[in-house]
Symmetry: C2
Subunit: 309 residues, 2 copies
C-alpha cells in the first residue's frame, strides 16, 4: 500500500464561464466538483495505475463530507482522513471558454487544533507500518507546525518507508533537512530553496541540503533529476496544450509508483513525464488521459546530464 | 406571518482578495458564507425588522444542508423549504480589497422535477392560508415552468393575500399579466418589460400591463413608485458608498413590511430607501446596518411626481 498525506485537502470546484471580466457578473455554464489537495490527486493517479492507496490528512465540515463522498466513490483509494472541527477549504478554478485560461481562487485551510494534530500523528504511525512508500504533498493548514513535514519524514525513515516531499517555502526548507528520499520542486520552489535560478546547479544544491534525490519539474521542458544513481533530463515528445492543474501531482504518482515497482530512474522519469503530459491534455483539471499516457510513455526522451555547471 | 418564496435559493459565498486578475492564482483572505437567494435575503431583513417570516422554495444537496443550517440560526425565520434531489447552487462574490469592487460568479440552479414542483405547490397553498403577504423573488431554476410566478400570483389572489413580485425577463412579463399587487423591477428589468428607458413612462406602462403598483429601483437615485394612490420619487439623503448586493431585497422587505403595517405609501417608500441604503453601507453583502437605517429613515425625501411625460 502507498500512503498519501494531504494536510490541506480541498474540495476542488471548476467553473466554466465565457470570459472572466473583473467587476462583472458571470453565469457559470458548467460546475465540476472533485476531491482535491495535492496528495489526494496523487492518490487518484496511483489508484488509476493499479496501486492500492490509502489517503490520510484532514477533512471536516460540509465540504469535508462532500470530499469524502467523492473519495469513497474512487476505486482503489482507502479513506483514512482524520475528522476535524473546521471545514475543508474550497478551491475555485474559473476556466474561460474563449481562451481556455484558468483563474484560481484558493480558500485558506481550516485551523487545526493541537489535539487534532496529535490524533493525526497517531494515525500516521499506524498507517506507515504497512506502507511501501509515502508522499507528503502540499501546503500546511493553520495550526500545523511549520516543521511538520520534517517530523513526518523522520518518522517515515524510522519505519524504513521511502518518503517523497512535494511542498514549498519554509516547510520544504525544513523538510529537506530531514533527508527525504525524493523532493519534487518546480522551478520557483527550487529557486526559493537554493537561491539559484539555474536548475542544474539548484538540483545539486538541494541534494547537498539533504534530499537524496531531487526531481525538478520544468513545466513544458519536462523533468530534471539529480539522484545518487545519476542525473537525467526527461522531456515530452511535443509541446502539450491544455490545463496544467495537477500535472505535478501526476508526476509524483509516476515517481512513487516507479520507486515501489523498483524501476530504474530513467523509466520512473519517463512515466512521470508521460503522466504529467497526459494530465495537461485531459479535459478535466487533475484527471489524466489514459490513452495519451500509454501513447506518450514510450516517446519520452530521457538523456543523461553530464556536468553540473 | 409574511411568506417569502425563493425557488432558486443559493449558498452565497463572499471572498476577499487583494485584486482579482484574470488567469492568475489568488489566495482568498476571508470567506463569508450566508443563506441566499433574493427571497431568503428579504426574509432575513423582515425578521430583523421584527416580523414573523416563513421562507419557502427549494433546497437540496450538501449546499442545501449548509443553507438550512444558517437559516435555522436566523431568529424569526421559519424554514419551510421543500427538499429536492439536486444540490442548491452556490454564488461566489469576489471582493477586491483595493477597489472594493465585486466580481460575481453564479452557478446555475439545480433541475427541479415535476414531482418536486407539485410538492412545492401543495406546500405553498398550506403556507398562504395564514400569510398576511407574500414575496416572490428571483430567477426560476431549470424545470420550473416559465409561467410559474403567474400561477403563484393567481393562487395568492384567490387566498386574498397581497403579493409582491421581484423577478426579470419572461417570468416577470407573465407574472405582471397575473395582476400582482406590487412589482419592484430595476431600471433594466423595467426597460426590458416595457420597451421604454424613461422610468416614469415605463412605470405607468407596467401598471397598464397588470401590476397594481410599480416600484422601480433606480440605484443611487432611489425609488420611483406608480401606485393607485399616487406617484412618488423617494431619494436617499446622500450618495451611499459600499456594496449594493441585496439592496433591492432590502427595499422589498421595506415595501412588504409597510404594506402589512398599513403604512401610507410615502412611509413605505422612505423605509424601503433607508433599508436599501443601510444595506449598501453594511460591511457584509446582503446585511443591513441597523444604526444607519434608523439614522437615514427620517431623512429620505419623498416627493410627489406630478406628470408622466
Amino acid at each position: 500500500m502507498i500512503l498519501t498525506v494531504t494536510l490541506n485537502t480541498a474540495l476542488d470546484i471548476t467553473y466554466r464561464v465565457r470570459s472572466l471580466r473583473p467587476h462583472a457578473s458571470h453565469r457559470v455554464s458548467d460546475v465540476i466538483e472533485r476531491p482535491g489537495g495535492k496528495g489526494v490527486n496523487v492518490a487518484r493517479v496511483l489508484a488509476a495505475l493499479g496501486h492500492e492507496v490509502t489517503a490520510t490528512g484532514f477533512a471536516g465540515g460540509a465540504t469535508g463530507q462532500v470530499l469524502r463522498g467523492h473519495l469513497s466513490a474512487t476505486p482503489g483509494v482507502t479513506d483514512a482522513l482524520v475528522p476535524i472541527a473546521g471545514a475543508t477549504r474550497r478551491t475555485i478554478a474559473v476556466v474561460d471558454d474563449l481562451s481556455g485560461d484558468t483563474t484560481q481562487l484558493n480558500e485558506p485551510g481550516p485551523q487545526i487544533s493541537p489535539t487534532e494534530w496529535g490524533l493525526f500523528l497517531d494515525r500516521y504511525e499506524e498507517l506507515l507500518a504497512p506502507a511501501s512508500a509515502v508522499a507528503l504533498s502540499g501546503s500546511l493548514p493553520p495550526g500545523v507546525p511549520v516543521g511538520a513535514y520534517a517530523g513526518l519524514i523522520r518518522t517515515a525513515r524510522a519505519f524504513g518507508v521511502p518518503v517523497l516531499l512535494d511542498t514549498s517555502g519554509e516547510p520544504l526548507r525544513r523538510g529537506v533537512a530531514a533527508r527525504p528520499d525524493i523532493i519534487k520542486p518546480n522551478s520557483d520552489e527550487l529557486a526559493e530553496l537554493t537561491g539559484s535560478h539555474e536548475p542544474l546547479r539548484a538540483t545539486q544544491d538541494a541534494r547537498r541540503r539533504g534530499a537524496h534525490a531531487v526531481v525538478a519539474s520544468l513545466g513544458p521542458e519536462g523533468l530534471l533529476a539529480a539522484t545518487p544513481e545519476g542525473r537525467w533530463h526527461a522531456t515530452p515528445p511535443a509541446r502539450i496544450h491544455g490545463n496544467p492543474t495537477g500535472a505535478g501531482d501526476s508526476a509524483v504518482a509516476g515517481l512513487l509508483s516507479g520507486l515501489v515497482e523498483r524501476l530504474p530512474w530513467p523509466d520512473r522519469l519517463a512515466r512521470a513525464v508521460a503522466l504529467s503530459a497526459a494530465t495537461v491534455r485531459a479535459p478535466a483539471a487533475g484527471e489524466f488521459d489514459v490513452a495519451a499516457y500509454e501513447e506518450l510513455v514510450g516517446r519520452v526522451a530521457v538523456n543523461g546530464v553530464v556536468s553540473a555547471a
